[in-house]
């Protein structure tokens, strides 16, 4: 936390001299007087996997929604590769190369996995407003769509309505959909939520594959997932940044330990 330079131009270079892909300065969000996110500074280094952790109600999802335009910050700025995106709409931020997944599985129940991914590909390419053209135009995306569906292991279910898929399959489709946007920065909101151990391990592998050449920010409660994926960890507590650093530094931080123990003893 460096409260001093909120108004300064967003840092292009991290302290380590590496490029910052996604950055927030002095980010705050009030809900009717309740400050859900408080003065958060965040620098996500390009090419790294960055985990956001914290107890329930720490403001992780609110922060995600601020970063992707679903909520407008009360104060503060957000930049992507140095470009100010504060206050932009979600679809504009998507076009800046920032893609997100949702904590609660969020798909189009009447569309098939293939149609989902084609939509994602078209969303970035443009042309969705062409109501006078045949939907056969979407066939141009089919090959790429089938590749992505194969990548997440859904080839056999490519033509089933998403509403009929099992939970783990829906999570996999979420992932394919996010990659279909070919984003520079991926924000994954609890990619392993509600999964069994086997699915968790498969998801870790998948995220690792996706992360090659990309920047990933993810929220997760599962410390096994955080430990195996994250280069960098930011711990949130009551809307504030409690600690930042590598997994090992953060894990041994006394404030973090007491925050988590406090949470567990309440649970």
């Amino acid at each position: 936390m460096n409260a001093a330079d909120h108004d300064a131009a967003p840092a292009q270079e991290h302290a380590t001299g590496r490029t910052v892909a996604l950055s927030a300065r002095g980010l705050s969000k009030d809900f009717r007087g309740f400050r859900a996110v408080r003065n958060v500074d965040l620098d996500v280094v390009e090419g790294e996997v960055h985990a956001l952790v914290g107890p329930n109600g720490a403001g992780k999802t609110t922060l995600f929604n601020l970063l992707t335009g679903y909520l407008k910050p009360t104060e503060g700025t957000i930049t992507v590769h140095g470009k100010d995106i504060t206050g932009r709409e979600p679809e504009q931020i998507a076009h800046e190369g920032v893609a997100r997944s949702f904590q609660i599985t969020s798909l189009f129940d009447n569309l098939t996995p293939r149609e989902h991914v084609e939509l994602g590909l078209q969303g970035m390419a443009g042309g969705g407003l062409r109501f006078w053209r045949s939907d056969k135009r979407l066939l141009q995306y089919r090959e790429r769509a089938d590749e992505l569906i194969a990548e997440v292991g859904l080839s056999a279910l490519a033509d089933r309505p998403a509403g009929e898929l099992a939970y783990g399959q829906k999570r996999a489709l979420e992932m394919a959909l996010v990659i279909s946007l070919d984003p520079k920065v991926l924000l994954l909101d609890e990619p392993t939520a509600g999964m069994g151990r086997e699915d968790v391990n498969r998801t870790i592998e998948l995220v690792r594959q996706i992360a090659v050449g990309r920047t990933v920010v993810f929220v997760d409660h599962n410390m096994h997932v955080v430990g195996s994926l994250a280069h960098h960890v930011t711990v949130l507590m009551a809307g504030e940044v409690l600690a930042q650093g590598t997994y090992d530094t953060v894990r041994t931080d006394s404030r973090v330990i007491s925050a988590y123990l406090g949470e567990e003893s309440r649970a």
Binding site: E89, L107, D109, N110, G123, D135, L177
Partner: protein, 349 residues
Amino acid sequence: MRSTTDTPEAVQAGQTRPGLRGRSPARWALLAVGLVVALALPWVIYPPVAMDIAAWALFAVALDLLLGYAGLLSFGHAAFWGSSAYVTGLVAIELGLPFPVAALLGAVAAMALALPIGLLSVRRSGIYFAMVTLAFAQMLFFVVNQWRDVTGGENGLQGVPRNFFGIEAVETEPFYFYYAALPLILAGMWFAWRVVHSPFGRVLVATRDNPARARALGYNVERYRVTVFVLSAGLAGLAGGLFALSHGFVSLQEVSWQTSGKVVLITVLGGIGTLWGAIIGAGLIVTLEDQLASSGFDGIGIITGSVFVIVVLLFRSGVWGTVTNLVARRRGQKVPSEDIGAADSEQGL
């Protein structure tokens, strides 16, 4: 349940999957049957009633485009049907242009009216969208009623001519007028089909199922909703204009909330999200009303209302939706369950 999308029925009735979709032979057969029925109609029933059915069918298809595919329930679509009826009538009376030109100008006027209304309404969804569209339609009703010099107020527009290049049969006989107007009706329906089966249509279904997620994919949901709103208004306007020409007059009824309600009733009764349902609903309701009226029964609303309640309670996906579900089941296809669509959009925010 769904928090942002408007009608739960839209989810399961707006089945884009089972039934006849994708089965080309069945689809062509259906199309052929539909064409034969459309061509035979004025031989079987009184030609002006046949024209009413055709106009209401296009009106209902226009509403279904919005309700079934974008998940937006407009309760003010009479604004577009009616405004076009008046513009069409005035163009025909004052300028004496051929009736297809008059009807198309009416449709353009309806679209011009729909643009500002759409821009202001699509920010709301569900019941609020329905109420905002109703409010705009009521404002139009007030204007039309007050602006007597132009609209004739309560007397309406009388003596709307059906000019058609001096071909007297079309201009005077409803039987021939039906065949002259049918190509426009069919073109309107083809256009709706084109929109549904376009890249745009795919995005539309996505914005209906999950608007928040559609935005995450880079789609400006409001722009899509305004576009489909304007397209729907254009088709409603084309239908309203032809209806006015067929009757030879325009009354306040065309901009009234009862007209908005009737088209919703027809669409839901037939089955939303199918286009065919809207056509069948129009056939059923217009024929039923005509039969009741000619038998001297004056409680038509009670009968159509009861039919509506029964269909909605027993066959939630409407007449056509029920038929296609049965066909799909016989073929052993899976039919979407009643409560698909648990996860919804603006959750988790």
